[in-house]
């Protein structure tokens, strides 16, 4: 294909989570041609979260799937276009940024990286072997398969508590394995306490998850953990893991974009990366607070900074 035929956009937003969709609302409202490119779920991790209680404007909380759907509708109302596929590389060509994708190449005058993060794995024996066959990372997707069954949930932060609370709808009992101490908010802890009092949830503090054991064709049967140096067995039908987040930044590995030690994208105070015209916002940004409200705010800021960036640069002519 000749270079002339590569599709061009003023802005390409990599990702379609809350930061990306908010940025798109801002850019498209100002008639800036904007394409979002998403390899996973529109709405990102917010869309797979059962209930979001701390996003402003929803006094009773909001289902993650609904919030994601509404953000999408709002962005599309102003003309944002969402395409499905994966970006594999970004190349800085000065006035244009070349994006290599699974659906072909495209060019953008400015790029916003808003790819967010995914749940980490724990890296213990049995985790890979029983993936989707007893080991899960999405309670809202897979919880329904565990009606009246025992579950283990691994993690002690907000995600682990929120998802464990969702899983109480289905499970007969949940063992919550917390490696050190609880990091979840007081509100979630209070809510969890009700299920602890009912005997539906048991929280095991200072308990590591060492191995997931099962039978081929039957699925998971137990989890082996350690507490105070002593091995403990937790009989279970399934394991849900929520132990932190890892950045979705693999596609910039060979670019001049600078990452921090963990792999999150470094930006200046204008949310611009080391490559002029390439910005980052939301959970993917080094130093982000991993909150949906913050991601939305960063998306708005990035959109305004992108507008400033484009305003002082005449539209480049494609050769």
């Amino acid at each position: 294909m000749s270079d002339n035929k590569i599709p061009e956009h003023d802005v390409v937003i990599v990702g379609a989570g809350p930061a990306a969709l908010t940025a798109a609302i801002y850019t498209t409202r100002e008639d800036i041609d904007t394409l979002l490119f998403e390899r996973g779920v529109v709405g990102g991790l917010a869309a797979v979260t059962d209930k979001i209680d701390n996003y402003p404007g929803f006094p009773d909380g909001v289902e993650g799937l609904k919030l994601a759907g509404d953000l999408q509708k709002q962005a599309e109302r102003f003309g944002a276009v969402i395409e499905l596929g994966d970006i594999t590389a970004i190349e800085d060509q000065g006035d244009w940024k070349l994006l290599k994708t699974t659906e072909g190449d495209m060019k953008a005058r400015a790029v916003l990286i808003a790819t967010g993060s995914d749940y980490k794995k724990i890296g213990v024996p049995g985790e890979e072997e029983f993936y989707a066959r007893g080991v899960h990372y999405c309670a809202t997707c897979d919880g329904a398969f565990y009606r009246d069954k025992r579950l283990v949930v691994v993690g002690g932060g907000n995600s682990a508590f929120q998802e464990a609370l969702f899983l109480t709808r289905f499970a007969s009992h949940i063992d919550l394995l917390v490696r050190s101490t609880v990091k979840a908010s007081d509100v979630l802890e209070d809510e969890m306490q009700k299920f602890v009092d009912e005997g539906k949830v048991t929280v095991h503090l200072g308990t590591t998850t060492d191995e997931i054991i099962g039978e081929k064709g039957k699925g998971v049967t137990k989890v082996i953990g350690t507490k105070n140096g002593k091995k403990i067995e937790f009989p279970t039908d399934g394991v849900f893991v929520f132990v932190g987040l890892k950045p979705n930044s693999q596609f910039v590995a060979n670019s001049k974009i600078v990452l921090d030690d963990v792999g999150f994208v470094k930006t200046n105070p204008d949310l611009e990366t080391a490559v002029p015209g390439v910005f980052a916002a939301g959970d993917i940004r080094s130093g982000a607070t991993m909150q949906i409200a913050s991601a939305a705010g960063e998306g708005a800021t990035a959109a305004l900074k992108i507008r400033e960036y484009l305003e002082v640069r005449p539209h480049p002519v494609q050769n």
Partner: protein
């Protein structure tokens, strides 16, 4: 040639929405089995996929052979639809 597509979904599954959106964008029709509304059909999804997860997409070809795609996996779903 695709003869028929069935997707097993649940009410709260965002990845299920993405599969439906992808098929919609391709102009392909499908039957949906929601396991929250039809819990007795959950075992069917597990038997077809070997996994306890949704979405599960069953693509029946013209010769009645079936391709099963577990999760929202475009790398597997796209070729299964040809």
């Amino acid at each position: 040639m695709v003869k028929n597509i069935t997707i097993f979904t649940s009410n709260t599954c965002a990845y299920c929405q993405m599969v439906k959106k992808y098929l919609g964008a391709k102009g392909m029709s499908y039957d949906e089995v929601n396991i929250d509304e039809h819990p007795h059909r959950q075992a069917e999804a597990m038997e077809m996929s070997g996994a306890s997860t949704v979405p599960v997409t069953i693509v029946t070809k013209g010769d009645d052979s079936k391709e099963v795609v577990v999760g929202y996996n475009l790398a597997k779903l796209a070729p299964a639809l040809t």
